[in-house]
C-alpha cells in the first residue's frame, strides 16, 4: 500500500527529556541532513524539521521498515545512545498515523503550549528547504501543502490561538482591552524582578510608548531601564509618577502594601479620570485590593491573572477537541487521495469518467434524433463506445507499462491531472 510508505520518525518534548533532545540538536540549515537522508537506501522523498521542542524526519520509502532503522540511526548518531534506547525516546508513525501526526504538529495540537503559532512557520521553512534541495516529490508536496491548509482551517474555524495562556501575556491582553493602542501609553515598573521584566518585555513588543522603572536601589532600576530605553526613578517618586503613567506593574519584595486607596483617589482627579491599570504580581501583595473599587481603576493581582490564564487554557482545550475533528476529517480525505494514487483505482476512475461523458452525450444526441430506427440507434451507441475506447487505449498502455527509471507516483499524478480526476476538491496549493 502506498499509504504505508509514508513514515515519520521523531523526538519531541513529550517523548524525550531535554538532555536527550539537545544531544541530537541540528543547528543551522537543513541541507546537510537532507542530503544524508536522501542517501538512505529506498528513501524516495524526505523533509527534515528541527525546532527546540522537536526533531522530526518525514519520509517516503519503498521499504519503510529498513529505512526507518537507518533514519533513526542518523537521528541519534551523535547521541551515543543504543538503538533500543533511541526507540524508547522516539516515535514512529506510519501511513494514516503519520498523516494525522503531521497535521497535529502543523495545527499546533502537538505543541508544548497548544495553539502557539510558531510551529507552522517552522514547518513551512523546513518544507521550503526540502523543496530547494529537491528532496520532496508528489506525495510529500501534497501532504505538506495539505498540512498547511489544515493548520489554517484549524486557526480560522476554532479559537485555539485566541487567548493568552501565560500570566505576563494575559496582562498585556488586558491592557490592550483597556487602552486599545499602547503606542502612546506608558508603564511604570515598581520593583525590578523577573516577572516585571517579562511583562515589560511583552508590553514593549506590543509597542508601549514609554517605560519607567522605580526601585529601592536606583542602580538596579537604571540597569533595567536601559534595557527598555526607559527612565529610572526612586521609589519616593511613586505617587508623582502615578499621576502620569497608564499601567503600573508592581513586584517588590515589600512585606506591606506600598499603595493604598486613599493615595490614588486624589490622583484620579488629577489624571482627569484617564484609566489606570494596576498589575500586582508580588506576593505578599503590594497594592491595596480596594483600589479596584475606584472608578476607572482596574486592579489585577497574581491570582486574578492566574484565573484568566486557567480560563483561557480550559478554552483552548475545548477548542483543541474541535480541532481534532477537523484533523480526523482531513486525514480521511488525504487517505482517499492516496488510495486513488494506485494504478487500479486510477484506471477505474478514468473509465468511469469517460463512460459518464459517453452516456450523457449519447443520451443527448438520441434525444434529438427521434426518427432513428433501433439498429441506427445501436450504431450511434457503438460509435461513441469505439471512440472512447480508442482514445483511452494509449493512455492506459502508458500507465500500465513501467520502465525501471519511471517514478510511478509522478506518472500517476500526471495522468490524474491530465484527466482532471482530483478536480472535485478545491486545490489550494
Amino acid at each position: 500500500m502506498l499509504a504505508e510508505s509514508i513514515v515519520i520518525i521523531g523526538v519531541n518534548h513529550k517523548t524525550a527529556p531535554v538532555a536527550v533532545r539537545e544531544k541530537l540538536a541540528f543547528s543551522g540549515d537543513c541541507s546537510g541532513p537532507l542530503v544524508t537522508l536522501m542517501h538512505i537506501e529506498g528513501c524516495r522523498e524526505c523533509c527534515f524539521l528541527s525546532t527546540c521542542n522537536r526533531v522530526e524526519v518525514i519520509f517516503v520509502a519503498s521499504d519503510p521498515a529498513a529505512a526507518a532503522v537507518a533514519v533513526r540511526g542518523f537521528l541519534f548518531a551523535k547521541s551515543g545512545l543504543s538503538d533500543a534506547e533511541a526507540q524508547q525516546y522516539s516515535y514512529l508513525h506510519q501511513g494514516r498515523d503519520a498523516v494525522s501526526h503531521l497535521y497535529h504538529v502543523a495545527a499546533s495540537l502537538d505543541s508544548m503550549v497548544v495553539g502557539e503559532p510558531q510551529i507552522l512557520g517552522q514547518l513551512k521553512q523546513a518544507y521550503r528547504e526540502a523543496v530547494e534541495q529537491k528532496t520532496t516529490g508528489v506525495i510529500l508536496n501534497r501532504l505538506l501543502h495539505k498540512s498547511f491548509s489544515v493548520a489554517k482551517r484549524v486557526r480560522t474555524e476554532t479559537n485555539i490561538g485566541g487567548s493568552a495562556v501565560s500570566i505576563s501575556y494575559a496582562a498585556v491582553e488586558l491592557a490592550k482591552k483597556i487602552f486599545g493602542n499602547l503606542r502612546d501609553k506608558s508603564v511604570l515598573l515598581v520593583g525590578a524582578g523577573e516577572m516585571a521584566e517579562l511583562a515589560a518585555e511583552h508590553l514593549v513588543r506590543q509597542g508601549i510608548g514609554r517605560v519607567i522603572v522605580a526601585n529601592r536601589t536606583l542602580e538596579r532600576a537604571a540597569k533595567l531601564a536601559r534595557r527598555f530605553n526607559g527612565t529610572a526613578v526612586g521609589l519616593a517618586e511613586l505617587t508623582s509618577q502615578l499621576a502620569e503613567v497608564d499601567i503600573l506593574v508592581s513586584s517588590t519584595g515589600a512585606t506591606d502594601l506600598i499603595l493604598r486607596k486613599d493615595e490614588v483617589k486624589p490622583l484620579m482627579r488629577q489624571r482627569m479620570n484617564r484609566p489606570l491599570f494596576l498589575i500586582d504580581i508580588a506576593v505578599p501583595r503590594d497594592l491595596d485590593p480596594e483600589l479596584n473599587d475606584l472608578d476607572n481603576v482596574y486592579l489585577y493581582d497574581i491570582d486574578d491573572l492566574k484565573n484568566v490564564v486557567d480560563v483561557n487554557k480550559a478554552e483552548r482545550e475545548k477548542e483543541a477537541l474541535r480541532a481534532e475533528g477537523i484533523v480526523a476529517e482531513e486525514v480521511i480525505k488525504f487517505g482517499q487521495w492516496l488510495e486513488g494514487m494506485e494504478l487500479a483505482p486510477t484506471i477505474t476512475a478514468i473509465r468511469q469518467k469517460a463512460n459518464g461523458i459517453r452516456e450523457a452525450e449519447v443520451a443527448k444526441t438520441l434525444g434529438v434524433l427521434k426518427s432513428l430506427s433501433e439498429n441506427e440507434r445501436r450504431s450511434v451507441e457503438m460509435l461513441a463506445n469505439a471512440i472512447v475506447n480508442k482514445l483511452l487505449h494509449e493512455p492506459m498502455v502508458f500507465l500500465k507499462n513501467s520502465t525501471p527509471h519511471d517514478n510511478p507516483q509522478l506518472k500517476l499524478a500526471f495522468v490524474r491531472q491530465l484527466f482532471g480526476l482530483d478536480n472535485n476538491e478545491s486545490s489550494d496549493q
Binding site: 490592550k176 482591552k177 483597556i178 487602552f179 486599545g180 484617564r274 472608578d295 476607572n296 484568566v308
Partner: protein, 265 residues
C-alpha cells in the same frame, strides 16, 4: 413605494439577524454578508426617499413615518461610514424602521407653515443629530458592558467581542461632538425659520423647550468632559442618559405635550 420600504425594512432585519450571528460566532465572512446587506438596505432606503420626494413634491420629512425613517437612514449611513467594528447598533436601526413601518405612510398635503426652503435643512440636521446621539448611546451601552467584565474579572461573551474601552470612549466623544454640533445647528436653523414662519425666534413651544433642555444636557456633558475629565465610565452613563432626552424631544413632546411644532403625527 410601499414595496420599496418593506424591502428596506426586510434587509435591515436580515442584516441585524446576521450581525447577531456574527457576534456569537465571530466569523468574518458572516460580518461581510451583514455589512453588504446593510449597505444594500441603505441604498434602497435612499432610493425610497428620492421616490417619496418626487411623489410628494416636497422634502419627505413632515410625517412621523418619514421622520423616524430618516432617523434610521441617518444611523445606517453613520454606521456604515464608521467602517469600524461596532455591531450592536444595527438592531437599533431595525427597531426604528419597525416604528416607521407602523406609522402612517400616506403622503399628506404640506401644512402652509412648512412650505419653505428651511424644511430640508432644519429637519434633516435635527434628525441627523439624533442619529449621532443614538450611536453615542450604543457606544455607552457597549462601554458599560465591556467595563463590567473587566472590572469584575469575569469574562463573558462581551470581553472578546467588543472593542477596547479606549475605542468605545473615542466613539463616544466623536459622536457626542458631532451630534452636539448638529444639534446646535438644528436649533439655530429652527429658530431662524421660526422667525419667518411664526414671527418670533423663540416662543417656548414644548419642542423648542425640550430641544434646549437636550442641548443643555449635552453641553454639560461635553463641558465636564473637557474640564473636569468626565470621561470613560461616567461619560458612557451620561451618553445613555442624554439619549433619553433626545427620545423624549423626538416623540414624547409630540404625543404628550403637543404645541405648534407638532406637525409630525
Amino acid at each position: 413605494m410601499t414595496l420599496l420600504f418593506q424591502l428596506t425594512l426586510f434587509l435591515y432585519l436580515l442584516a441585524t439577524a446576521v450581525y447577531v450571528a456574527h457576534f456569537l460566532s465571530q466569523q468574518k465572512k458572516v460580518r461581510a454578508v451583514a455589512r453588504a446587506m446593510l449597505l444594500v438596505g441603505g441604498i434602497l432606503h435612499t432610493v425610497y426617499f428620492v421616490v417619496r420626494y418626487v411623489a410628494a413634491g416636497h422634502t419627505p420629512l413632515t410625517s412621523s413615518h418619514e421622520a423616524v425613517s430618516f432617523f434610521a437612514w441617518s444611523m445606517t449611513w453613520a454606521f456604515l461610514s464608521f467602517w469600524w467594528r461596532y455591531r450592536v447598533k444595527s438592531p437599533l436601526i431595525s427597531l426604528l424602521m419597525l416604528i416607521a413601518a407602523f406609522s402612517s405612510q400616506e403622503i399628506r398635503p404640506l401644512a402652509p407653515a412648512l412650505k419653505s426652503n428651511w424644511l430640508p435643512v432644519h429637519a434633516s440636521i435635527a434628525i441627523m443629530a439624533n442619529g449621532f446621539m443614538a450611536l453615542a448611546f450604543c457606544g455607552g451601552v457597549m462601554y458599560l458592558l465591556q467595563e463590567r467584565e473587566i472590572k469584575k474579572k469575569k469574562f463573558g461573551i462581551f470581553y472578546s467581542r467588543l472593542p477596547s474601552l479606549e475605542a468605545l470612549d473615542n466613539l463616544n466623544q466623536h459622536c457626542l461632538t458631532l451630534g452636539f454640533l448638529l444639534l446646535t445647528l438644528g436649533i439655530v436653523t429652527g429658530s431662524v425659520w421660526a422667525k419667518q414662519a411664526w414671527g418670533a425666534y423663540w416662543q417656548w413651544d414644548p419642542k423648542e423647550t425640550w430641544s434646549l433642555i437636550t442641548w443643555l444636557i449635552y453641553a454639560a456633558i461635553l463641558h465636564q468632559r473637557l474640564t473636569v475629565g468626565w470621561r470613560r465610565r461616567r461619560a458612557a452613563i451620561m451618553a445613555i442618559a442624554g439619549f433619553g432626552a433626545v427620545l423624549f424631544t423626538f416623540w414624547g413632546v409630540t404625543y404628550l405635550l403637543g404645541g405648534v411644532h407638532s406637525y409630525v403625527g
